[in-house]
Amino acid sequence: MTKSTLQTADTNDRQPETAGFLEIKNLSKAYPTGNGGEFVVLHNINLTVQENEFVSLIGHSGCGKSTLLKIVAGLERSTSGLVTLEGREIRKPGSDRMMVFQHYSLLPWLTVRENVRLAVDEVLKDASRAEKASLVNEHLAMVNLMPAANKYPDEISGGMKQRVGIARALAIRPKMLLMDEPFGALDALTRGKLQRQVLDIWEAHRQAVLMVTHDVDEALYMSDRIVMMTNGPAAQIGEILDVPFAHPRDRAALRENPHYYELRNHALNFLDQHFGADD
């Protein structure tokens, strides 16, 4: 690929003037502690994600990234504040926001295909059997899992399990994809490949993505914006970094771009600054 793909993306792409697809307003989350007090995890979070935007969430361990993602998924309730998707308040889990779980969360008694099929059966009730079957196959093929379709989760590698999780999430055609460190448990080589696959899929069918990560390079490579959180307790959004490289992106070309290193250093400095600040 040539360097021309790295030109700054047209800002009209993200249409910042329209109301957000996902809106998080003044969100706070506290857990009650044993002695009657409360432990504030997230404090006054405000974030908007557009309909076809890839947003990364980065921050030190324990600052509340998973908590934020779970609140958007509807698996946790916020203590105060409002989360809306297309203007409607999020109160409970829904298949319009599908999650790729940090620890795969595959059902071990089902094969790879059955795991994806279960999600499709559950969500796309009106589809015919043939439609469902082809949808499952299409998404298994998309993440190169056809050869392993009839294997059980404990018979496949971690990278393959993560791909099943991704196929399962994509197969039900969610409006928004929530990924909690989807590549965290993988070795560097597999991680690179899988990042590419996911990015390919996303570039082909753009949609809203919120991805938690620990890895600045991953965030820069994949996302349009990087939300950097301050340390907990009472974590806030410290800074939002725009990543102005156009899609489709090429990793090698990115690495030769000086702007890439500016952003990278900026993000790393932010994280260093906040490292251990509140411990």
Partner: protein
């Protein structure tokens, strides 16, 4: 033990160095078990030589039992049946009581595992009743039913309850939150979560409970039949003893043991079949 040996066989079969493993295989699946049996036989000979007026030698026991062994399904009128019939009668009681027990225990276990008030209400009762010997229920059963047959089945039913309830409840309450989160994100209604997520996730626990229950039930039926009489392997043991016919008692002990083992293997096979999982992983 049979199961272990079969597993050892599979493991050994998949090895590449076939020649060497053949010897190891022979040693592990034939030689050592044979040595164990030989030891028991020697012990038997030793004890029999001390009290030979009461205790037959092993070879005498076989000869005395030849009739039983060669004609297990002999029918010589009332009370004169081959040992196969006796075994079947006992098996029928055990399986009936056990199935009734499972039908009651599994739903109860689900209730206790999923609904805290049910746990709080039922746990004390279970904890008190569980350590009671199932035989203590026999007089109560006889008072209720007035008949030996349903009473025996009732005792087995009670026997089968506790382990299955406790293990089912444990399995249900320890279903990983991750699995339930998947179901919630997919907006699966909770009644469907019960049989699509919670049931399959807790099946291994349920089967552990069933296996323990069936094992105890098979232990208990022999004692129950000794007390109630009638057709059955337990009463056979008692009857032969009162005729001072120890050879037959030994035969019965052997048959009871093998049957118990087969029951355990059968339920393990059933588990493998239902959970669709091969126990040893190939490759």
């Amino acid at each position: 033990m049979v199961q272990l040996s079969i597993m050892a066989l599979f493991v050994a079969l998949s090895q590449a160095t076939w020649k060497r493993t053949k010897l190891v295989l022979l040693r592990d699946t034939v030689l050592y078990p044979a040595l164990g049996f030989l030891g028991i036989l020697l012990l038997w000979y030793g004890i029999a030589s001390l009290r030979h007026e009461l205790m037959p030698y092993p070879h005498e026991a076989v000869i005395n039992n030849l009739d039983f062994i060669t004609h297990p399904f002999y029918q010589g009128g009332a009370g004169d049946l081959g040992i196969g019939w006796l075994l079947l009668a006992s098996l029928r009681r055990v399986l009936l009581g056990f199935l009734l027990g499972a039908v009651v225990a599994i739903p109860l276990g689900f209730l206790i595992g999923m609904y805290r008030p049910a746990l709080l209400a039922l746990n004390p009762i279970i904890q008190i009743l569980k350590p009671v010997s199932p035989l203590a229920w026999l007089p109560i059963a006889l008072a209720i039913f007035n008949l030996a047959e349903p009473s025996a089945i009732f005792v087995i039913f009670i026997t089968s309850l506790w382990s299955t309830i406790i293990n089912t409840a444990l399995g249900v309450s320890s279903v990983s939150k991750d699995y339930l989160d998947v179901a919630r994100v997919l907006e699966m209604p909770s009644w469907r979560q019960v049989y699509k997520i919670i049931l399959p996730a807790s099946l291994p626990y349920i089967f552990t409970g069933l296996r323990i229950s069936l094992g105890i039930a098979w232990l208990v039926i022999v004692a129950v039949e000794m007390l109630t009489g009638g057709v059955g392997i337990g009463f056979f043991v008692w009857d032969e003893w009162s005729r001072l016919n120890l050879s037959s008692v030994f035969l019965a002990v052997f048959v009871i043991g093998i049957t118990g083992l087969l029951l355990d293997v059968a339920i393990a096979q059933l588990e493998a079949l239902i959970t669709h999982r091969r126990t040893p992983k190939e490759g």
